[in-house]
């Protein structure tokens, strides 16, 4: 393929990936990796290298808006990030000794199973108000944000221990498989900690950038971040992410959860297909 066509294809696909990623709190890898490997015949290592940069681009590209609108919960994000980064380092260290195929199959299955509780609360706009107690109270894991119609939504986090455990697993998966595992982060905050969906996806958006930055140096030094592939991806994602943020701010939580459920199903299928070796 000639350079200009390669650039344009990737650039346009990445705009879509950035928009979707910034709304549901995941990096763009779900869209970018299969386009690179299946349609453009790029080596999986280069695809993952581009995906790591795309995660950071999604996170930072969306962050400016989410910080301004105060939807991201920095305290909850920072608390959970201790688990994710620790998990990521452990994962990267032991990755060489574990089978990627088995891991992909296990993780894909976990994602499919988690569709059940997610679909059960698919129509829930706001979680029922939780009692702030224990560790959540000590760390003041609560917050509020303002909907576009001016209503102030207050919420308390529950089960911080379960949430942190979920993040440790999410970090392990990122370190082991080189994927962002934003899906697992959103699931932990939505199902275990019972945060409003917007808060879960935007807080995940914050966290995936930090986790990816932690491992980006390794990929960079190895030479996995190929500028020819990664430049159009990064540019497209940055533009797409800023489009996605405008949607999220105005959207209903139920709409975001529906999109997330579809993305979750798609990423589970993608992982299982990868594990089966297609």
């Amino acid at each position: 393929m000639i350079v200009i066509l390669f650039f344009l294809t990737l650039f346009l696909a990445s705009i879509a990936a950035g928009a979707l990623g910034s709304i549901v709190g995941i990096g763009g890898g779900l869209i970018v990796i299969p386009i690179l490997t299946l349609f453009l015949g790029v080596d999986i290592h280069y695809a993952i290298g581009a995906s790591i940069v795309s995660i950071i681009a999604t996170s930072s590209g969306a962050a400016a808006t989410y910080v301004k609108d105060r939807i991201t919960n920095l305290r909850i994000g920072m608390f959970l990030e201790t688990g994710t980064t620790t998990g990521a380092i452990i994962g990267a260290a032991v990755a060489a000794y574990l089978s990627a195929v088995v891991l992909e199959a296990i993780f894909g299955t976990i994602l499919i199973i988690s569709l059940v509780p997610l679909v059960r609360k698919i129509g829930e706009e706001y979680p029922p108000k939780q009692q702030l107690q224990g560790l959540a109270k000590k760390l003041s894991l609560r917050g509020d944000y303002t909907e576009p119609d001016g209503r102030k939504i207050e919420y308390n986090a529950t089960n911080p221990g379960k949430g942190l455990a979920g993040m440790l697993v999410a970090g392990l998966i990122s370190g082991l498989l080189g994927i962002g595992s934003g899906t697992f982060k959103v699931l932990s905050m939505d199902l275990a900690m019972k945060l409003p969906m917007k808060v879960s996806t935007t807080t995940s958006n914050f966290m995936i950038g930090v986790t990816a930055a932690a491992s980006a140096g390794i990929y960079f030094a190895r030479g996995d971040v190929n500028p020819l592939i990664t430049a159009p991806v990064a540019l497209g994602i940055l533009i797409g992410a800023s489009i996605g943020t405008h949607f999220l701010v105005r959207a209903k939580n139920t709409a975001i959860r529906k999109i997330f459920a579809l993305v979750l199903a798609a990423s589970a299928i993608e992982l299982i297909i990868r594990a089966l070796g297609f």
């Binding site: 000639i2 400016a64 920072m78 620790t86 930090v210 540019l235």
Partner: protein
């Protein structure tokens, strides 16, 4: 402080996007009709795999000669710095709030982050 955080993020994103766009434009101007296969070869036996700059020194020397790939890599580095700057600024944010618990938590995250960025490429175990 939240405003400063917003400004830093916005400047970081615009700067990295701009630098990557300049590098990309320079590359496309010269190579728009090249075949991509010569750039996409992956050599599992060699580290680094590609023929593009991967160290700070090679990026710096490439920048002097306006090498497009070095300019793009500089943009990646700016992008990479934004989440780190965000955590570092959060540290000041929590310190200003006198929220001691979160100063510790954030310092922990920052320490893990800097460890994995600076130390892990040097540890053979992590180079899989």
């Amino acid at each position: 402080m939240n405003r400063i955080l917003g400004i830093v993020l916005r400047v970081g994103v615009l700067l990295s996007g701009g630098v990557i766009a300049i590098g990309t434009t320079l590359f496309v101007a010269d190579h728009s009709l090249d075949d991509t296969s010569s750039y996409l070869q992956y050599n599992p036996g060699f580290i680094p795999h590609g023929n593009f700059p991967v160290s700070l020194a090679s990026i710096a020397s490439g920048l002097i000669s306006l090498d497009p790939f070095s300019i793009i890599a500089l943009g990646f580095l700016v992008l990479l710095a934004t989440p780190i700057a965000r955590v570092a600024l959060s540290l000041f944010l929590f310190a200003a709030e006198k929220n001691r618990m979160f100063v510790y938590l954030t310092a922990t995250v920052l320490a893990i982050l800097l460890f994995s960025m600076l130390a892990t490429p040097l540890i053979p175990l992590f180079n899989g």
